[in-house]
């Protein structure tokens, strides 16, 4: 039986609970998911299959495609890494300290969820391009933050920021001080306590947040294409390549690349679910 439900002992007659409404709600749910999700997924995979292996691999792994994967996955990895470190910092500060503006900081963290990606895209470009508030002073050192892979990383850092903060915050908040106090009475200093007691406790949450930010970053489109530069082989992300192929009416090519991205996302999702399931078991033991 699935583990996700709260099931009451001693009320197990038959497979369904005595509450009504299952046929109707299940029917709606299945129809909803089938029409919106499953059918399109099947269409995508079916189209991929019709390409035949040779053509598929040619399109999915052309040099240009591979360059785009490298950029998309690579930048997502870097951005998720940056967010793992700073997201942890932000979560720590929000949970552990009291200071003026704390609530404001907490509310702002969710901005990337609420702000449309296109708006984020043009805003980030405005700030980090050569003429922007940050781009201009930095350009004096000869560093360009926009229209290149660095811009992609910046955009993906924006997008992924809430993921680590929001997954680590509840775990930190629930932790309580008992373990730290125990470690203190055993002679450990603050940094040792953080490294050996606190960090292992919150590590699974950090990994989950990292993985979610990474998965989101790989497929991100709207916030990236304005700041990216979009030069094939250099600063072209995979989703953009798909769009370009579509504009050239190369549906086959677009489908092939989309399939690669989709499979990567599904595998990531599976891994994240497995990881979370494992952590849930460990914690409740």
């Amino acid at each position: 039986m699935a583990t996700a439900a709260v099931s009451l002992p001693g009320k197990r007659r038959g497979r369904h609970s005595p509450l009504p409404g299952l046929p109707l709600t299940l029917g709606i749910t299945v129809a909803w998911l089938s029409i919106l999700l499953l059918l399109p997924l099947v269409a995508l995979f079916a189209k991929s299959l019709t390409l035949g292996p040779g053509h598929f691999f040619e399109a999915a792994f052309s040099r240009r495609a591979i360059a785009s994967y490298e950029l998309s996955f690579g930048a997502a990895l870097v951005a998720a890494g940056v967010n793992a470190v700073f997201g942890l910092l932000v979560a720590w500060v929000l949970v552990r300290y009291r200071f003026p503006g704390r609530r404001l900081l907490g509310a702002l963290v969710d901005l990337p969820f609420a702000l449309p990606t296109a708006v984020a895209g043009i805003a980030l470009t405005a700030v980090y391009a050569d003429t922007g508030w940050v781009g201009k002073p930095v350009a004096a050192f000869g560093i360009k933050l926009a229209y290149n892979p660095i811009g992609v990383v910046i955009a993906l850092t924006f997008i992924g920021l809430p993921f680590v903060v929001r997954t680590v915050e509840p775990v930190l908040a629930d932790m309580g001080r008992g373990l730290e106090e125990a470690a203190a009475t055993l002679g450990a200093r603050r940094w040792t306590i953080f490294r050996r007691v606190i960090l292992p406790e919150i590590f699974p949450a950090i990994v989950t947040g990292f993985a979610l930010a990474f998965a989101r970053g790989v497929g991100e489109y709207g916030s990236v294409i304005f700041i990216a530069g979009n030069m094939p082989f250099k600063s072209e992300i995979a989703p953009l390549l798909i769009v370009t192929k579509l504009e050239e009416y190369d549906y086959a090519g677009a489908t092939a690349i989309a399939t690669v991205l989709l499979l990567a996302s599904l595998v990531l999702l599976l891994l994240i679910n497995l990881w979370q399931g494992r952590e849930l078991k460990r914690r409740s033991a």
């Binding site: 009320k11 369904h16 299940l26 269409a43 300290y97 805003a123 940050v134 603050r190 953009l240």
Partner: protein, 281 residues
């Protein structure tokens, strides 16, 4: 318990540095871009801003965005409620699979989502010929935009409600059952009041995403000015024409919406935090 345990907290200096770094990070990555939207939108003054907004294509985009949201948010709300009810108040085989499926749209790239609908309803798609024969247009038309929006906003309400309803358990509903209440009554009078803040929260997020969706809609819409451009697409079009002021003007409306969403969200968490799911979004 005292919060000033010298042994188990960092020194004041360390704390201050950490807070400053955290604030600087958020300011750099989040606040500056947000501020720049409004700064650029009003760069040429309020009159220019107004002119950009009331321009016919912009108005059409606003109307389309509102329409799409007005259609997709209720659909996903109702279906999300149904899914949450089925999953949390019943036991059946495949329940976990269902829950996992609901999460899938979160990990799909929006461009891939839009492409999938193109493959179904585009001219060369599975239903392409049938649609052509019946003179129905889904791809490159409003219905396609609604569909694309539906899939990317699919999980929000369900993901918010499922952990919440699981934590609340089934006892109240079962009590109502023993008291003779029919299904609809149980749902409306027992369940719904318990989940109303979580539901509002989910609807809020759904709406924010529905109005702001870009990638999926971009692929399926065909970018037909005045007809199939939502606000985010209109922003892109204006930007690519180097009409920056107008682009940021429309963008600022969306940014304003985002701020309202954040404010309402914060209020909800503050006042009713215990009645929202603790799950990470």
């Amino acid at each position: 318990m005292s919060a000033k345990n010298a042994a188990v907290t960092e020194s004041l200096l360390t704390k201050t540095i950490l807070i400053l770094v955290a604030v600087a990070y958020v300011a750099l990555i989040l606040v500056l871009p947000l501020a720049s939207v409004f700064s650029e939108a009003f760069r040429h003054g309020i009159a220019a801003f107004k002119a950009a907004i009331v321009e016919p294509d912009a108005l059409a985009a606003i109307q389309l965005t509102l329409t799409v949201a007005a259609i997709s948010v209720p659909i996903n709300m109702v279906c999300g409620l149904a899914a949450a009810w089925a999953v949390t108040k019943h036991d059946f085989r495949g329940k976990q699979l269902l829950i996992s499926l609901i999460d899938v749209p979160f990990s799909i790239s929006p461009v891939v989502a839009g492409l999938m609908y193109l493959l179904l309803f585009g001219a060369q798609g599975w239903f392409g010929e049938w649609l052509l024969a019946h003179d129905i247009r889904i791809a490159f038309a409003k219905p396609g935009i609604v569909l694309a929006t539906l899939i990317v906003t699919l999980p929000f309400v369900a993901r918010e409600l499922i952990p919440l309803m699981q934590a609340q358990g089934r006892e109240e509903e079962e009590a109502a059952l023993t008291l003779g209440a029919p299904g609809w009554r149980i749902f409306l009078w027992v369940t719904l009041p318990n989940i109303r803040w979580g539901l509002l929260y989910g609807v809020l997020l759904t709406n924010a995403r529905a109005m702001g969706e870009f990638g999926a809609v971009s692929v399926i819409s065909g970018h037909i000015r005045g007809e199939t451009n939502t606000m985010p697409l209109q922003v892109e079009v204006l930007y690519n024409e180097y009409n920056f002021a107008a682009a940021f003007a429309v963008a600022s409306l969306l940014a304003g919406l985002a701020l309202v969403t954040l404010v309402v969200k914060t209020l909800l968490e503050w006042r009713h935090g215990d009645q929202l799911a603790a799950a990470g979004h």
